[in-house]
């Protein structure tokens, strides 16, 4: 796994430009930016589990601004209703008919803040949108825009007053990761940047939405060798068989891993996926999809550690095994 200090592996020119642009606002979060872009390019969504104030919003806004995307933020509260998310049909007295007022979900990039503070009903409304790519209100199905990406944040589950997301819904997020506190020097840099005015004001689009759509198409063309697919399956399978795991990764996890791998390969300007891509992405793509059994919970085992173990153990295909 790459660590923070390593230079970016992203070599695709457009993506590279995009990352540089976002970094004007977000300091020292290159990896998280990359992961977000992978989600964007592979049509996935991101769950950020973090404390408030570490720059989640800034990152999403910078991303949205950089691609000229329509950006909405939903603050989830316990009294939020599904229609507040999806939109609502309002009766217009002028025209004497109902007409639809799209909710915040009908935009390109949605920041769903504190998603576990709202009722399951409202959560479900959003998460349906994530999976289906469409919302249904008043019996009418409306396509969401393309690109569409939700970045949800949740408070760490131990906090009070939360409605934890069920596994089925967690499974719909491509990645789950933390942003985490910046290092001291990074924080100093943050202070320096916002001293005069906030840099988000200065962010200008470097790409268009059409560029993103084109790139998404290209991502799907990235070649995944049978051996690599096998490797993905082996990893997901291993999570199912791990002794500390109560519920392992689903086939959807395999799909997610492959798609993310394609996007990651694309960002590195490569036309095929290598096991390194998968191995790198596996923790982000899998750790929220497994449930530990009670024994493991009582001991120190964490989801991260299980995935780490699995990735270290699964054999990596490297050619005919019988070279003698």
């Amino acid at each position: 796994m790459r660590n923070r200090q390593e230079p970016s592996v992203v070599t695709h020119p457009l993506v590279h430009r995009l990352i540089e642009n976002i970094e004007k606002v977000v300091v020292g979060k290159k990896r998280e930016i990359e992961l977000s872009l992978i989600a964007l390019l592979s049509g996935g969504h991101v769950l950020l589990e973090d404390v408030p104030g570490v720059g989640k919003t800034m990152m999403v806004r910078a991303l949205a601004k950089s691609v000229g995307a329509d950006y909405k933020r939903i603050q989830f509260t316990p009294d939020l209703l599904p229609s507040d998310v999806t939109g609502v049909s309002v009766f217009s007295q002028k025209t004497m008919e109902f007409h639809f007022r799209p909710g915040p979900v009908m935009s390109n990039i949605v920041l769903a803040d504190e998603i576990n503070r709202t009722s399951p009903k409202t959560q479900a409304a959003l998460l349906e949108a994530l999976e289906e790519g469409s919302v249904t209100t008043d019996g009418e199905t409306r396509e969401l825009q393309d690109p569409f990406m939700v970045m949800a944040t949740q408070n760490p589950i131990e906090y009070g007053g939360t409605y934890p997301l069920p596994e089925a819904q967690l499974d719909r997020f491509l990645f789950k990761f933390k942003i985490g506190y910046p290092s001291k020097s990074e924080e100093l840099e943050v202070l320096n940047r916002v001293e005069k005015r906030h840099p988000i004001e200065e962010v200008t689009p470097v790409l268009t939405l059409e560029d993103i759509v084109d790139m998404k198409k290209d991502v799907r063309k990235v070649f995944v060798n049978e051996k690599v697919k096998e490797y993905i399956i082996n990893i997901v399978n291993a999570t199912r068989q791990h002794h500390a795991v109560y519920l392992g990764g689903s086939p959807r996890a395999s799909i997610a891993l492959m798609k993310a791998g394609q996007a990651y390969a694309f960002m590195q300007d490569r036309e095929f996926v290598v096991p390194d891509d998968i191995k790198y992405l596996a923790p982000y793509a899998l750790q929220h999809r497994i449930l530990l059994n009670s024994d493991a919970k009582l001991s120190d085992t964490t989801n991260e550690r299980v995935i780490h173990e699995v990735v270290q153990q699964v054999h990596i295909p490297a050619g005919k095994e019988s070279v003698r």
Binding site: F223, N225, K227, V228, R270, E271, F272, V273, V274, P275, D276, K279, V311, Q312, Q313, V314, H315, I316, A318, G319, K320, E321, S322, V323, R324
Partner: protein
């Protein structure tokens, strides 16, 4: 045999091993015609081959049993019955005859009369055995994968046959070793593969070329060295004669044709070590111990003694051979000799000067007809003193017992010191002969030995004593054979100084001749071991092959031929007193006891082929090389040492550097095969080499991570470049287009850096 059907399908390797075990089975069949009266062994081989194929193909049992039955019937038909098998009278007749046989033999078996089994039935049982063995081999190769016991028993079988029977197995043992190496290593390979499969590193078995090349090379090298390397003589004496003697009660000369020590005919080439043999030759009833004279030889060739006996027909009353002249006093004595069974001599052994043969007690046989009592004619060689008997028609006989009358001499030393030294002309002619090539230094040495001596007797005594005083060593083994251009005596006197009676006696005779003293070389037996004391004061002596001996007789005018004993450890002439006549008897007694000492302790012998009535031995008459071969000294010549050390070092280097050499092989291999399509194998080979060099890729380690690590360890960047290209080819499905040529040097650098 139903079990065969449940077998898992074997690999090519299994088949190969199975074929090899079949070859081992063949080795079991090969010697059979030599040791038994079995003919047509190829039929059995074919039958075994046939059963092996059937078993390998896992033919169901309801088919395999009739097939094998038919095969053995066909084999029986070829061996025992006549006519075409396919015709009505042929095959059917055989079946009919054989079913009758089978019934008869089954009854025999149940009544326990195994000896009565008929030949066809025995043959059938052998066929059955072969089929069973084939099945067992199949089972041990494909199921248990253990073949060592079979291999070991093959080796034991062959070596036992080689040792105890006429089977010549030197080639067979090489074949077995080669086959055995192959089988064991291949089975080991299969086991390794199984283990790897068990830990999930391999999905199917394979036939590894690299393994095979190494294997073939190692086996060829080992076999080559084994064949070419110098070999020491057997460290243990040949156990066969002793064992045969013990188990079968056979005497010596029983005609097995084995080379060993004893009294022989041919002395043209003396030298070489020999092995002891204590089989008795004859027993003799005598008044007192004495040496047994067979004959003397007078012409020295530089390598040995030759004689050209001219026989005169004599009567048994007067054998007409004179050794002693007027000044020697003699006493007439009588001796009875009984030859051991199986010992075949047609001439007599006698002490002193033989006078006559008692025809009454003479027994012999002609052409295996024991106890034949025909009139015999006696022949004497007046020069060599060989007395033999034959039928009037000239047929050779084998003596079994005879009584002799002989003259027991007492030599007057005082007279011998003073007699003139004018030898008769015929004595000079015969007994002063020397080869022209005899080196000067022999004569010089003789002069030196006797320079202080006045008379002939003292000179002779000086030469006789010389050997015991000048650091010569008596030994029977590791005595070298002189080279073609080397003189036997010269070699002994100046080079080796180790040897046995032939060396001592020949040297003494030659030394005396250089001093113009007539001398001749005598061969026979020492007195032997006293085994029984009879009531009338006579004793029975047993003379064994190990008592074969040679000594010297020197001519003194008017005294005759006086025997001398130069050989160390043998008393200064055993039988004949060399003192004044009046103390003769005392000395005789003393000497009589003494003679036994050397006989028992030293077992001085003449290394020659046993002389006997057997054609086999008569044909092999160039036998004085018995127990030959390189001695220890010869083994450790600088040359052999050098070669041995060199090959040892070579093998050590080979072992030490095997991975290096292997890497060089791959370097050249992939250099020669530098096409792009070879890139993948080259890269994978690199992974393999790295693993062998102690840099294995971890289980969950991606190629890139691995490449980074390798580059870090080897401080290079080549691995990452190669890996990127490999990723492209392997994961991306690209065909490399010229990149491999570009990266090939990097690849080579990497392998070389591993080698350095």
């Amino acid at each position: 045999m139903a079990k065969i059907n449940s077998k898992p399908a074997g690999s090519v390797t299994h088949l190969f091993i199975y074929i090899l075990t079949f070859l081992l089975l063949w080795e079991w069949l090969r010697p059979i015609p030599v040791i038994t009266h079995t003919a047509d062994i190829h039929i059995f081989v074919w039958f075994a081959f046939f059963s092996a194929i059937l078993i390998y193909l896992r033919v169901p049992y309801w088919l395999i049993i009739p097939a094998l039955l038919a095969g053995s019937i066909y084999g029986l038909h070829i061996i025992f019955y006549e006519g075409s098998f396919l015709s009505r009278e042929g095959g059917w007749q055989t079946v009919r005859l054989f079913s009758g046989e089978a019934w008869y033999n089954t009854t025999l078996i149940f009544s326990g009369e195994f000896a009565g089994l008929t030949d066809p039935f025995r043959t059938f049982l052998l066929f059955l055995l072969l089929a069973l063995v084939c099945y067992l081999l199949y089972f041990s190769v494909f199921q248990t994968r253990r073949i060592f016991f079979f291999l070991l028993s093959t080796v034991v079988y062959i070596t036992v046959l080689d040792t105890f029977t006429p089977v010549e197995a030197s080639a067979a043992i090489i074949r077995i070793v080669i086959i055995g190496f192959f089988i064991l290593t291949l089975l080991h390979m299969l086991k390794i593969q199984d283990e790897e499969r068990a830990i999930g590193r391999r999905t199917a078995s394979f036939f590894s070329p690299a393994w095979m090349y190494t294997l073939i090379f190692m086996i060829l090298a080992a076999t080559g060295v084994g064949i070419a390397a110098p070999k020491p003589d057997p460290q243990w004496s040949d156990p066969v004669p002793a064992m045969r003697g013990m188990v079968l009660g056979e005497g010596s000369g029983s005609g097995s044709g084995l080379k060993r020590v004893g009294y022989g005919e041919n002395d043209e080439r003396l030298g070489g070590g020999f092995i002891q043999d204590d089989n008795p030759v004859f027993t003799a009833e005598v008044d007192e111990a004495s040496y047994w004279r067979g004959e003397s030889k007078h012409e020295y060739t530089g390598h040995g003694w030759v004689s050209d006996p001219r026989y005169e027909e004599v009567s048994g009353d007067s054998l007409g051979y004179a050794k002693y002249e007027s000044l020697t006093e003699t006493e007439e004595r009588q001796v009875s000799i009984e030859m051991k069974e199986g010992v075949g001599f047609s001439h007599f052994f006698y002490p002193g000067q033989v006078q006559s043969i008692s025809l009454d007690n003479l027994s012999f046989y002609v052409d295996d007809n024991e106890g034949a009592r025909e009139p015999l004619s006696f022949m004497t060689d007046p020069v060599g003193g060989r007395v033999m008997a034959e039928t009037p028609e000239g047929n050779e006989i084998t003596l079994t017992a005879y009584d002799l009358v002989y003259e027991d001499p007492a030599f007057p030393i005082g007279t011998m010191r003073t007699v003139s030294e004018n030898d008769p002309q015929e004595v000079q002619d015969l007994y002063l002969q020397l080869p022209e090539e005899l080196p000067e230094r022999v004569a010089d040495l003789a002069e030196e030995i006797v320079e202080d001596e006045e008379n002939r007797y003292d000179k002779v005594k000086a030469v006789e004593q010389y050997f015991s005083e000048s650091g010569f060593t008596y030994q029977t083994q590791d005595v070298p054979m002189p080279e073609e251009d080397e003189d036997y005596v010269d070699q002994f006197l100046f080079e080796t100084q180790v040897g046995y009676c032939d060396n001592y006696s020949t040297s003494m005779a030659v030394l005396l001749r250089t001093l113009d003293i007539p001398a001749r070389w005598v061969k026979g037996f020492t007195s032997g071991e006293e085994i029984e004391e009879l009531e009338d004061g006579r004793s029975v002596y047993e003379v064994a092959n190990g008592n074969a001996h040679s000594w010297v007789e020197v001519y003194f005018p008017e005294v005759g031929w006086v025997p001398f004993e130069p050989t160390q450890g043998f008393d200064n002439y055993a039988e004949f007193a060399e003192e004044e006549v009046d103390i003769d008897i005392d000395l005789d007694e003393e000497n009589g006891e003494d003679t036994e000492q050397p006989d028992q302790d030293r077992d001085d012998m003449i290394p020659e082929l046993e002389e006997g009535a057997d054609d086999f031995e008569a044909a092999g008459s160039d036998g004085s090389t018995g127990g030959g071969g390189p001695g220890l000294a010869e083994m450790f010549t600088p040359r052999t040492l050098f070669i041995s050390i060199l090959s040892l070092v070579f093998l050590m280097v080979l072992y030490q550097k095997q991975s290096r050499l292997q890497n060089y092989y791959f370097l050249i291999h992939y250099k020669l095969l530098g096409q792009d399509k070879r890139f993948s194998t080259a890269y994978r080979r690199l992974l393999w080499i790295l693993e062998n060099e102690g840099l294995p890729r971890g289980e969950g380690e991606t190629l890139r991570e691995y490449a980074k690590r390798v580059d870090l360890v080897l401080s290079s960047q080549a691995m990452m470049k190669l890996t990127k290209l490999y990723e492209k080819v392997y994961y991306g499905g690209y065909e490399p287009d010229g990149e491999w040529e570009a990266l090939q040097t990097e690849w080579e650098e990497l392998v070389k850096s591993l080698n350095s």
